[in-house]
Symmetry: C2
Subunit: 263 residues, 2 copies
DNA sequence: CAGTGGTCTAGACCACTGG
DNA sequence: CAGTGGTCTAGACCACTGC
Protein backbone atom coordinates (compact mmCIF):
# COMPACT_ATOMS: atom_id res chain seq x y z
CA UNK A 1 0.00 0.00 0.00
CA UNK A 2 2.47 2.61 1.15
CA UNK A 3 5.24 3.82 -1.09
CA UNK A 4 8.50 2.11 -0.27
CA UNK A 5 11.38 4.37 0.60
CA UNK A 6 12.27 5.24 -2.93
CA UNK A 7 11.81 8.54 -4.69
CA UNK A 8 8.78 10.65 -4.01
CA UNK A 9 7.28 13.40 -6.10
CA UNK A 10 9.86 16.10 -6.78
CA UNK A 11 11.37 15.75 -3.34
CA UNK A 12 15.07 15.55 -2.62
CA UNK A 13 17.59 13.07 -3.87
CA UNK A 14 16.29 9.63 -3.13
CA UNK A 15 17.03 6.24 -4.60
CA UNK A 16 19.99 5.71 -6.85
CA UNK A 17 21.15 8.35 -9.27
CA UNK A 18 22.39 7.10 -12.62
CA UNK A 19 25.41 8.86 -14.07
CA UNK A 20 25.81 11.22 -11.14
CA UNK A 21 29.17 11.22 -9.48
CA UNK A 22 29.33 10.83 -5.72
CA UNK A 23 26.04 9.14 -4.92
CA UNK A 24 23.87 11.97 -3.58
CA UNK A 25 23.26 10.44 -0.16
CA UNK A 26 19.91 9.05 0.78
CA UNK A 27 16.76 10.90 1.65
CA UNK A 28 14.40 9.23 4.09
CA UNK A 29 10.70 9.29 3.37
CA UNK A 30 9.83 11.64 6.20
CA UNK A 31 12.31 14.16 4.82
CA UNK A 32 10.59 14.05 1.47
CA UNK A 33 7.23 14.52 3.18
CA UNK A 34 8.67 17.43 5.12
CA UNK A 35 9.79 19.02 1.87
CA UNK A 36 6.35 18.58 0.37
CA UNK A 37 4.64 20.16 3.37
CA UNK A 38 7.17 22.96 3.25
CA UNK A 39 6.34 23.59 -0.37
CA UNK A 40 2.66 23.90 0.49
CA UNK A 41 3.62 26.27 3.28
CA UNK A 42 5.64 28.42 0.91
CA UNK A 43 2.93 28.33 -1.72
CA UNK A 44 0.53 29.69 0.87
CA UNK A 45 -1.79 26.71 0.73
CA UNK A 46 -2.43 27.39 4.42
CA UNK A 47 -2.20 30.91 5.83
CA UNK A 48 -0.41 31.89 9.06
CA UNK A 49 -2.56 31.03 12.05
CA UNK A 50 -4.60 28.50 10.11
CA UNK A 51 -4.58 24.78 10.80
CA UNK A 52 -2.90 22.45 8.37
CA UNK A 53 -4.60 19.12 7.64
CA UNK A 54 -4.56 16.51 10.38
CA UNK A 55 -1.80 13.95 10.51
CA UNK A 56 -4.23 11.30 9.32
CA UNK A 57 -5.28 13.39 6.33
CA UNK A 58 -1.71 14.13 5.38
CA UNK A 59 -0.81 10.47 5.79
CA UNK A 60 -3.61 9.53 3.40
CA UNK A 61 -2.67 12.28 0.99
CA UNK A 62 0.95 11.20 0.79
CA UNK A 63 0.14 7.50 1.17
CA UNK A 64 2.45 6.97 4.11
CA UNK A 65 1.83 6.04 7.71
CA UNK A 66 0.86 8.57 10.35
CA UNK A 67 4.18 8.02 12.08
CA UNK A 68 6.08 9.20 9.05
CA UNK A 69 4.01 12.36 8.72
CA UNK A 70 4.48 12.84 12.43
CA UNK A 71 8.23 12.84 12.16
CA UNK A 72 8.09 15.33 9.31
CA UNK A 73 5.87 17.67 11.30
CA UNK A 74 8.07 17.19 14.36
CA UNK A 75 10.93 18.76 12.48
CA UNK A 76 8.83 21.60 11.16
CA UNK A 77 7.65 22.28 14.70
CA UNK A 78 11.23 22.20 15.97
CA UNK A 79 12.05 24.90 13.43
CA UNK A 80 9.11 26.99 14.60
CA UNK A 81 7.40 26.79 11.23
CA UNK A 82 4.29 25.18 12.65
CA UNK A 83 2.83 24.86 16.13
CA UNK A 84 1.21 21.73 17.49
CA UNK A 85 -1.77 21.96 19.80
CA UNK A 86 -2.93 18.76 21.33
CA UNK A 87 -6.56 17.99 20.76
CA UNK A 88 -6.90 20.79 18.20
CA UNK A 89 -4.48 20.45 15.35
CA UNK A 90 -1.26 21.76 13.85
CA UNK A 91 -1.14 25.42 12.93
CA UNK A 92 1.01 27.55 10.68
CA UNK A 93 3.25 29.63 12.91
CA UNK A 94 2.68 33.36 13.06
CA UNK A 95 4.24 36.35 14.76
CA UNK A 96 0.79 37.62 15.77
CA UNK A 97 -0.24 35.48 18.67
CA UNK A 98 3.23 34.33 19.57
CA UNK A 99 3.41 32.82 23.04
CA UNK A 100 6.00 35.43 23.84
CA UNK A 101 5.41 38.75 22.21
CA UNK A 102 8.76 39.39 20.60
CA UNK A 103 10.30 36.31 19.17
CA UNK A 104 13.41 37.95 17.75
CA UNK A 105 14.02 40.73 20.25
CA UNK A 106 16.44 39.47 22.88
CA UNK A 107 16.74 42.76 24.73
CA UNK A 108 15.43 42.36 28.26
CA UNK A 109 14.91 44.87 31.03
CA UNK A 110 17.49 44.41 33.78
CA UNK A 111 14.74 44.23 36.36
CA UNK A 112 13.11 40.85 36.06
CA UNK A 113 9.82 41.03 34.22
CA UNK A 114 10.67 39.75 30.81
CA UNK A 115 8.93 41.77 28.13
CA UNK A 116 6.12 42.45 30.52
CA UNK A 117 7.16 46.06 30.59
CA UNK A 118 4.42 46.52 28.04
CA UNK A 119 4.79 47.03 24.32
CA UNK A 120 7.31 49.54 23.09
CA UNK A 121 6.30 53.01 21.99
CA UNK A 122 7.25 53.41 18.36
CA UNK A 123 8.37 56.69 16.90
CA UNK A 124 8.83 56.57 13.15
CA UNK A 125 11.50 59.04 12.09
CA UNK A 126 11.57 58.17 8.43
CA UNK A 127 9.87 55.87 5.97
CA UNK A 128 10.97 56.32 2.42
CA UNK A 129 11.81 54.62 -0.80
CA UNK A 130 15.50 54.75 -1.63
CA UNK A 131 18.08 53.12 -3.86
CA UNK A 132 19.93 50.34 -2.09
CA UNK A 133 23.53 51.06 -1.13
CA UNK A 134 25.95 48.29 -1.93
CA UNK A 135 26.05 46.75 1.54
CA UNK A 136 22.29 46.76 1.95
CA UNK A 137 21.82 45.27 -1.49
CA UNK A 138 24.28 42.53 -0.74
CA UNK A 139 22.58 41.60 2.50
CA UNK A 140 19.18 41.46 0.82
CA UNK A 141 20.35 39.64 -2.28
CA UNK A 142 19.56 42.59 -4.53
CA UNK A 143 21.62 44.68 -6.90
CA UNK A 144 23.07 48.00 -5.84
CA UNK A 145 20.62 50.75 -6.70
CA UNK A 146 17.54 48.55 -6.56
CA UNK A 147 14.57 50.12 -4.84
CA UNK A 148 14.26 49.42 -1.13
CA UNK A 149 12.09 50.81 1.62
CA UNK A 150 13.98 52.36 4.48
CA UNK A 151 12.46 52.92 7.89
CA UNK A 152 14.16 54.64 10.78
CA UNK A 153 12.53 54.50 14.17
CA UNK A 154 13.04 54.75 17.90
CA UNK A 155 11.53 52.30 20.35
CA UNK A 156 10.94 53.46 23.89
CA UNK A 157 10.16 51.45 26.99
CA UNK A 158 8.45 53.25 29.81
CA UNK A 159 9.16 56.54 28.10
CA UNK A 160 12.89 55.84 27.82
CA UNK A 161 14.20 55.71 24.23
CA UNK A 162 16.09 52.44 24.11
CA UNK A 163 16.41 51.27 20.52
CA UNK A 164 17.27 53.24 17.42
CA UNK A 165 17.04 51.23 14.29
CA UNK A 166 17.14 51.35 10.53
CA UNK A 167 15.16 48.79 8.61
CA UNK A 168 15.63 48.01 4.94
CA UNK A 169 13.08 46.00 2.99
CA UNK A 170 13.04 44.90 -0.65
CA UNK A 171 10.99 47.44 -2.58
CA UNK A 172 9.33 44.76 -4.64
CA UNK A 173 7.72 43.02 -1.67
CA UNK A 174 6.89 46.10 0.39
CA UNK A 175 5.45 48.43 -2.19
CA UNK A 176 2.89 50.50 -0.28
CA UNK A 177 4.59 50.63 3.10
CA UNK A 178 3.78 53.82 5.02
CA UNK A 179 4.96 55.37 8.24
CA UNK A 180 1.41 55.11 9.50
CA UNK A 181 1.41 51.35 8.99
CA UNK A 182 4.67 51.03 10.88
CA UNK A 183 3.37 53.11 13.76
CA UNK A 184 -0.26 52.08 14.05
CA UNK A 185 -0.08 48.30 13.84
CA UNK A 186 -0.64 46.65 17.17
CA UNK A 187 1.79 43.84 17.75
CA UNK A 188 5.16 42.89 16.38
CA UNK A 189 6.32 44.43 13.13
CA UNK A 190 6.90 40.97 11.75
CA UNK A 191 3.22 40.24 12.33
CA UNK A 192 2.35 43.30 10.24
CA UNK A 193 4.61 42.02 7.48
CA UNK A 194 2.56 38.84 7.42
CA UNK A 195 -0.81 40.55 7.44
CA UNK A 196 -0.11 43.47 5.14
CA UNK A 197 2.47 42.09 2.75
CA UNK A 198 2.25 38.33 3.03
CA UNK A 199 5.91 38.20 4.01
CA UNK A 200 6.62 35.49 6.57
CA UNK A 201 9.80 35.80 8.57
CA UNK A 202 11.06 32.47 9.75
CA UNK A 203 14.63 32.85 10.89
CA UNK A 204 17.27 35.51 11.46
CA UNK A 205 20.98 35.97 11.99
CA UNK A 206 22.55 38.69 14.08
CA UNK A 207 26.01 40.18 14.30
CA UNK A 208 26.63 42.10 17.47
CA UNK A 209 29.25 44.72 18.18
CA UNK A 210 29.91 47.51 20.63
CA UNK A 211 30.31 51.06 19.39
CA UNK A 212 30.17 54.64 20.61
CA UNK A 213 27.11 56.77 19.88
CA UNK A 214 27.72 59.61 17.46
CA UNK A 215 25.98 62.94 17.93
CA UNK A 216 22.84 62.15 15.97
CA UNK A 217 22.44 58.73 17.53
CA UNK A 218 23.02 60.14 20.99
CA UNK A 219 20.32 62.71 20.46
CA UNK A 220 17.75 60.17 19.39
CA UNK A 221 18.49 57.94 22.36
CA UNK A 222 18.95 60.83 24.78
CA UNK A 223 22.36 59.75 25.92
CA UNK A 224 25.70 61.51 25.89
CA UNK A 225 27.67 61.32 22.64
CA UNK A 226 30.26 58.59 22.93
CA UNK A 227 28.05 56.38 25.11
CA UNK A 228 28.76 52.73 24.32
CA UNK A 229 25.84 51.07 22.55
CA UNK A 230 25.12 47.59 21.36
CA UNK A 231 25.09 47.43 17.58
CA UNK A 232 22.88 44.62 16.34
CA UNK A 233 22.81 43.87 12.63
CA UNK A 234 20.07 41.44 11.77
CA UNK A 235 19.23 39.75 8.51
CA UNK A 236 15.82 38.07 8.55
CA UNK A 237 14.85 35.27 6.20
CA UNK A 238 11.72 33.67 4.77
CA UNK A 239 11.59 30.13 3.48
CA UNK A 240 14.49 28.87 1.42
CA UNK A 241 16.88 31.17 3.22
CA UNK A 242 15.71 34.12 1.20
CA UNK A 243 16.57 37.40 2.97
CA UNK A 244 13.64 39.78 3.42
CA UNK A 245 14.91 42.33 5.87
CA UNK A 246 18.10 44.03 6.98
CA UNK A 247 17.87 45.75 10.33
CA UNK A 248 20.59 47.72 12.05
CA UNK A 249 19.76 48.48 15.65
CA UNK A 250 21.50 50.41 18.38
CA UNK A 251 20.51 49.28 21.85
CA UNK A 252 21.01 51.17 25.07
CA UNK A 253 22.30 48.76 27.66
CA UNK A 254 22.15 50.85 30.79
CA UNK A 255 18.69 49.59 31.68
CA UNK A 256 18.45 46.57 29.42
CA UNK A 257 20.66 43.70 28.32
CA UNK A 258 20.80 41.28 25.44
CA UNK A 259 20.01 37.83 26.73
CA UNK A 260 21.21 34.67 25.09
CA UNK A 261 21.06 31.02 25.95
CA UNK A 262 23.78 28.60 24.94
CA UNK A 263 23.54 24.86 24.83
CA UNK B 1 5.58 -7.65 29.57
CA UNK B 2 6.24 -3.97 29.36
CA UNK B 3 5.28 -1.64 32.14
CA UNK B 4 2.10 0.22 31.37
CA UNK B 5 2.35 4.01 31.46
CA UNK B 6 1.98 4.32 35.18
CA UNK B 7 4.63 5.27 37.68
CA UNK B 8 8.19 4.19 37.14
CA UNK B 9 11.03 3.91 39.57
CA UNK B 10 11.70 7.23 41.26
CA UNK B 11 10.97 9.13 38.06
CA UNK B 12 8.78 12.22 37.87
CA UNK B 13 5.13 12.53 38.74
CA UNK B 14 3.21 9.81 36.98
CA UNK B 15 -0.14 8.27 37.62
CA UNK B 16 -2.54 9.83 40.05
CA UNK B 17 -1.32 11.57 43.16
CA UNK B 18 -3.44 11.07 46.24
CA UNK B 19 -3.94 14.06 48.51
CA UNK B 20 -1.90 16.39 46.33
CA UNK B 21 -3.69 19.50 45.24
CA UNK B 22 -3.73 20.35 41.55
CA UNK B 23 -3.13 16.96 39.93
CA UNK B 24 0.56 17.08 38.98
CA UNK B 25 0.03 16.57 35.30
CA UNK B 26 1.02 13.38 33.57
CA UNK B 27 4.45 12.11 32.78
CA UNK B 28 4.84 9.93 29.70
CA UNK B 29 6.98 6.86 29.93
CA UNK B 30 9.73 8.18 27.70
CA UNK B 31 10.10 11.20 29.99
CA UNK B 32 10.58 8.91 32.94
CA UNK B 33 13.16 6.93 31.00
CA UNK B 34 14.88 10.16 30.07
CA UNK B 35 15.04 11.11 33.72
CA UNK B 36 16.53 7.75 34.60
CA UNK B 37 19.19 8.03 31.92
CA UNK B 38 19.90 11.54 33.08
CA UNK B 39 20.42 10.32 36.59
CA UNK B 40 22.95 7.78 35.36
CA UNK B 41 24.63 10.55 33.42
CA UNK B 42 24.83 12.74 36.50
CA UNK B 43 26.03 9.86 38.64
CA UNK B 44 28.86 9.37 36.20
CA UNK B 45 27.86 5.84 35.28
CA UNK B 46 29.26 6.62 31.83
CA UNK B 47 32.11 9.11 31.41
CA UNK B 48 32.26 11.91 28.80
CA UNK B 49 33.23 10.50 25.43
CA UNK B 50 32.18 6.98 26.38
CA UNK B 51 29.32 5.12 24.77
CA UNK B 52 26.15 4.56 26.73
CA UNK B 53 24.41 1.18 26.36
CA UNK B 54 22.67 0.48 23.07
CA UNK B 55 19.01 1.30 22.66
CA UNK B 56 18.19 -2.39 22.80
CA UNK B 57 20.10 -2.83 26.07
CA UNK B 58 18.43 0.17 27.64
CA UNK B 59 15.05 -1.03 26.44
CA UNK B 60 15.65 -4.39 28.11
CA UNK B 61 16.97 -2.75 31.25
CA UNK B 62 13.93 -0.51 31.62
CA UNK B 63 11.51 -3.09 30.23
CA UNK B 64 10.13 -0.79 27.56
CA UNK B 65 10.24 -0.89 23.79
CA UNK B 66 13.15 0.40 21.76
CA UNK B 67 10.97 3.19 20.42
CA UNK B 68 10.39 4.57 23.88
CA UNK B 69 14.07 4.58 24.72
CA UNK B 70 14.67 6.15 21.36
CA UNK B 71 12.41 9.07 22.09
CA UNK B 72 14.09 9.62 25.45
CA UNK B 73 17.53 9.64 23.83
CA UNK B 74 16.25 11.91 21.07
CA UNK B 75 15.56 14.59 23.64
CA UNK B 76 18.88 14.13 25.37
CA UNK B 77 20.58 14.46 22.00
CA UNK B 78 18.57 17.60 21.23
CA UNK B 79 19.90 19.09 24.45
CA UNK B 80 23.45 18.17 23.49
CA UNK B 81 23.86 15.86 26.45
CA UNK B 82 24.61 12.86 24.27
CA UNK B 83 25.69 12.42 20.67
CA UNK B 84 24.35 9.75 18.37
CA UNK B 85 26.61 8.11 15.81
CA UNK B 86 24.97 5.82 13.38
CA UNK B 87 26.42 2.34 13.26
CA UNK B 88 28.50 2.99 16.38
CA UNK B 89 26.42 3.99 19.34
CA UNK B 90 25.34 6.89 21.52
CA UNK B 91 28.07 8.77 23.35
CA UNK B 92 28.18 11.06 26.33
CA UNK B 93 28.78 14.56 25.03
CA UNK B 94 32.10 16.20 25.78
CA UNK B 95 33.79 19.51 25.13
CA UNK B 96 36.96 17.74 24.04
CA UNK B 97 36.25 16.46 20.59
CA UNK B 98 33.40 18.82 19.88
CA UNK B 99 32.54 19.00 16.20
CA UNK B 100 33.19 22.70 16.43
CA UNK B 101 35.98 23.69 18.73
CA UNK B 102 34.28 26.26 20.91
CA UNK B 103 30.72 25.44 21.70
CA UNK B 104 30.00 28.43 23.88
CA UNK B 105 32.18 31.08 22.26
CA UNK B 106 30.09 32.99 19.76
CA UNK B 107 32.76 35.51 18.85
CA UNK B 108 33.68 35.16 15.19
CA UNK B 109 36.35 36.85 13.12
CA UNK B 110 34.81 39.33 10.70
CA UNK B 111 36.65 37.68 7.83
CA UNK B 112 34.87 34.45 7.04
CA UNK B 113 36.72 31.46 8.42
CA UNK B 114 34.78 30.58 11.51
CA UNK B 115 37.08 29.64 14.33
CA UNK B 116 39.60 28.42 11.81
CA UNK B 117 41.86 31.25 12.86
CA UNK B 118 43.51 28.65 15.02
CA UNK B 119 43.21 28.27 18.77
CA UNK B 120 43.53 31.35 20.93
CA UNK B 121 46.74 32.19 22.73
CA UNK B 122 46.03 32.21 26.44
CA UNK B 123 47.77 34.54 28.83
CA UNK B 124 46.90 33.89 32.45
CA UNK B 125 47.14 37.09 34.44
CA UNK B 126 45.94 35.73 37.73
CA UNK B 127 44.79 32.50 39.26
CA UNK B 128 44.02 32.71 42.96
CA UNK B 129 41.77 31.62 45.71
CA UNK B 130 39.55 34.42 47.02
CA UNK B 131 36.42 35.00 49.07
CA UNK B 132 33.37 35.40 46.90
CA UNK B 133 31.92 38.90 46.64
CA UNK B 134 28.17 39.09 47.01
CA UNK B 135 27.35 39.21 43.30
CA UNK B 136 29.67 36.33 42.43
CA UNK B 137 28.30 34.27 45.28
CA UNK B 138 24.75 34.89 44.18
CA UNK B 139 25.46 33.85 40.60
CA UNK B 140 27.15 30.64 41.75
CA UNK B 141 24.60 29.79 44.38
CA UNK B 142 27.12 30.21 47.20
CA UNK B 143 27.25 32.38 50.27
CA UNK B 144 29.15 35.65 50.31
CA UNK B 145 32.66 34.98 51.52
CA UNK B 146 32.76 31.36 50.42
CA UNK B 147 36.00 30.30 48.78
CA UNK B 148 36.13 30.61 45.00
CA UNK B 149 38.88 30.35 42.44
CA UNK B 150 39.36 33.45 40.34
CA UNK B 151 41.17 33.41 37.02
CA UNK B 152 41.91 36.44 34.89
CA UNK B 153 43.21 35.93 31.41
CA UNK B 154 43.60 37.43 27.98
CA UNK B 155 42.85 35.52 24.80
CA UNK B 156 44.59 36.59 21.63
CA UNK B 157 43.86 35.65 18.05
CA UNK B 158 46.67 36.01 15.58
CA UNK B 159 48.63 37.96 18.14
CA UNK B 160 45.83 40.46 18.74
CA UNK B 161 44.50 40.52 22.31
CA UNK B 162 40.75 40.16 21.84
CA UNK B 163 39.17 38.87 25.00
CA UNK B 164 39.82 39.85 28.59
CA UNK B 165 37.95 37.75 31.06
CA UNK B 166 37.49 36.95 34.70
CA UNK B 167 36.38 33.47 35.63
CA UNK B 168 35.00 32.48 39.02
CA UNK B 169 34.66 28.87 40.02
CA UNK B 170 33.33 27.29 43.22
CA UNK B 171 36.30 26.56 45.45
CA UNK B 172 34.87 23.24 46.53
CA UNK B 173 34.84 21.76 43.03
CA UNK B 174 38.04 23.32 41.74
CA UNK B 175 40.41 22.78 44.61
CA UNK B 176 43.81 22.40 43.01
CA UNK B 177 43.38 24.68 40.01
CA UNK B 178 46.64 26.26 38.90
CA UNK B 179 47.59 28.89 36.34
CA UNK B 180 49.67 26.24 34.64
CA UNK B 181 46.62 24.04 34.15
CA UNK B 182 44.68 26.94 32.68
CA UNK B 183 47.49 27.78 30.29
CA UNK B 184 48.84 24.41 29.28
CA UNK B 185 45.72 22.42 28.52
CA UNK B 186 45.17 21.90 24.84
CA UNK B 187 41.56 22.45 23.87
CA UNK B 188 38.63 24.27 25.39
CA UNK B 189 38.75 25.21 29.03
CA UNK B 190 35.47 23.40 29.57
CA UNK B 191 37.15 20.22 28.34
CA UNK B 192 39.82 20.68 30.99
CA UNK B 193 37.11 21.07 33.61
CA UNK B 194 35.78 17.66 32.58
CA UNK B 195 39.15 15.93 32.58
CA UNK B 196 40.75 17.52 35.60
CA UNK B 197 37.81 18.19 37.88
CA UNK B 198 34.98 16.02 36.61
CA UNK B 199 32.83 19.10 36.13
CA UNK B 200 30.61 18.84 33.09
CA UNK B 201 29.23 22.04 31.65
CA UNK B 202 26.00 21.52 29.84
CA UNK B 203 24.33 24.86 29.30
CA UNK B 204 24.96 28.57 29.79
CA UNK B 205 23.19 31.90 29.88
CA UNK B 206 24.70 35.18 28.77
CA UNK B 207 23.85 38.80 29.39
CA UNK B 208 25.43 41.16 26.93
CA UNK B 209 26.04 44.87 27.25
CA UNK B 210 28.21 47.55 25.70
CA UNK B 211 30.62 49.51 27.84
CA UNK B 212 33.71 51.67 27.59
CA UNK B 213 37.11 50.24 28.44
CA UNK B 214 38.69 51.67 31.55
CA UNK B 215 42.43 52.23 31.70
CA UNK B 216 43.39 48.80 33.01
CA UNK B 217 41.12 47.01 30.57
CA UNK B 218 42.36 49.14 27.69
CA UNK B 219 45.93 48.27 28.53
CA UNK B 220 45.29 44.56 28.56
CA UNK B 221 43.47 44.67 25.23
CA UNK B 222 45.82 47.22 23.71
CA UNK B 223 43.08 49.66 22.78
CA UNK B 224 42.51 53.28 23.72
CA UNK B 225 40.75 53.89 27.02
CA UNK B 226 37.07 54.50 26.39
CA UNK B 227 36.92 52.11 23.45
CA UNK B 228 33.49 50.47 23.36
CA UNK B 229 33.68 46.78 24.25
CA UNK B 230 31.19 43.97 24.41
CA UNK B 231 30.58 42.90 27.99
CA UNK B 232 29.50 39.28 28.17
CA UNK B 233 28.47 37.87 31.51
CA UNK B 234 28.05 34.14 31.37
CA UNK B 235 26.78 31.69 33.95
CA UNK B 236 27.46 28.08 33.02
CA UNK B 237 25.52 25.17 34.44
CA UNK B 238 25.91 21.43 34.98
CA UNK B 239 23.00 19.07 35.31
CA UNK B 240 20.01 20.15 37.35
CA UNK B 241 20.66 23.79 36.52
CA UNK B 242 23.43 23.94 39.04
CA UNK B 243 25.76 26.88 38.31
CA UNK B 244 29.44 25.97 38.10
CA UNK B 245 31.04 29.02 36.57
CA UNK B 246 30.64 32.76 36.36
CA UNK B 247 32.57 34.39 33.56
CA UNK B 248 32.76 38.06 32.76
CA UNK B 249 34.31 38.74 29.41
CA UNK B 250 35.18 41.89 27.51
CA UNK B 251 35.34 41.37 23.76
CA UNK B 252 36.96 43.63 21.23
CA UNK B 253 34.59 43.98 18.30
CA UNK B 254 36.76 45.82 15.83
CA UNK B 255 37.94 42.62 14.19
CA UNK B 256 35.38 40.18 15.55
CA UNK B 257 31.66 40.08 16.16
CA UNK B 258 29.27 38.11 18.32
CA UNK B 259 27.18 35.91 16.11
CA UNK B 260 23.73 34.70 17.03
CA UNK B 261 21.02 32.79 15.25
CA UNK B 262 17.35 33.37 15.96
CA UNK B 263 14.52 31.09 15.09
C1' DC C 1 29.56 -10.36 9.24
C1' DA C 2 27.19 -8.77 13.61
C1' DG C 3 25.88 -4.75 16.04
C1' DT C 4 24.47 -0.03 16.09
C1' DG C 5 21.40 3.72 15.15
C1' DG C 6 17.72 5.15 11.58
C1' DT C 7 13.35 4.51 9.07
C1' DC C 8 8.76 2.79 8.35
C1' DT C 9 4.55 0.53 9.35
C1' DA C 10 0.16 -0.83 11.69
C1' DG C 11 -2.53 -0.78 15.36
C1' DA C 12 -3.91 0.18 20.12
C1' DC C 13 -4.82 3.29 23.51
C1' DC C 14 -4.46 7.92 26.06
C1' DA C 15 -5.02 13.07 26.85
C1' DC C 16 -6.95 17.08 25.34
C1' DT C 17 -10.29 20.12 22.83
C1' DG C 18 -14.61 21.49 21.32
C1' DG C 19 -19.40 21.08 20.14
C1' DC D 1 -19.05 12.58 21.73
C1' DA D 2 -15.83 12.62 17.64
C1' DG D 3 -11.55 14.41 16.17
C1' DT D 4 -6.92 15.85 17.13
C1' DG D 5 -2.30 15.28 18.61
C1' DG D 6 0.60 12.22 21.91
C1' DT D 7 2.32 7.76 23.60
C1' DC D 8 3.60 2.97 23.26
C1' DT D 9 4.43 -1.36 21.20
C1' DA D 10 6.26 -5.02 18.04
C1' DG D 11 8.37 -6.16 14.19
C1' DA D 12 10.58 -5.50 9.68
C1' DC D 13 14.04 -3.66 7.09
C1' DC D 14 17.83 -0.18 5.87
C1' DA D 15 22.34 2.43 6.33
C1' DC D 16 26.51 2.71 8.53
C1' DT D 17 30.60 1.08 11.26
C1' DG D 18 34.15 -1.92 12.33
C1' DC D 19 36.08 -6.42 12.77
Amino acid sequence: MAATPTSFAEAGTAGTEAAGQAAPAFSPLYQQIKTLILQSLEAGEWKPGEAIPSEMDLAARFRVSQGTVRKAIDELAAENLVVRRQGKGTYVATHSEQHVRYRFLKLMPDSGDQASEGPADRAILECKRVRAPADVARALGLRTGDAVMQVRRVLSFGGVPTILEDIWLPGSSFKGLTAHQMAAYKGPTYAMFEVEFGVRTVRAEEKIRALAADRAQATHLKVAPGTPLLSVERVAFTYNDQPVELRRGLYRTDTHHYRNELS
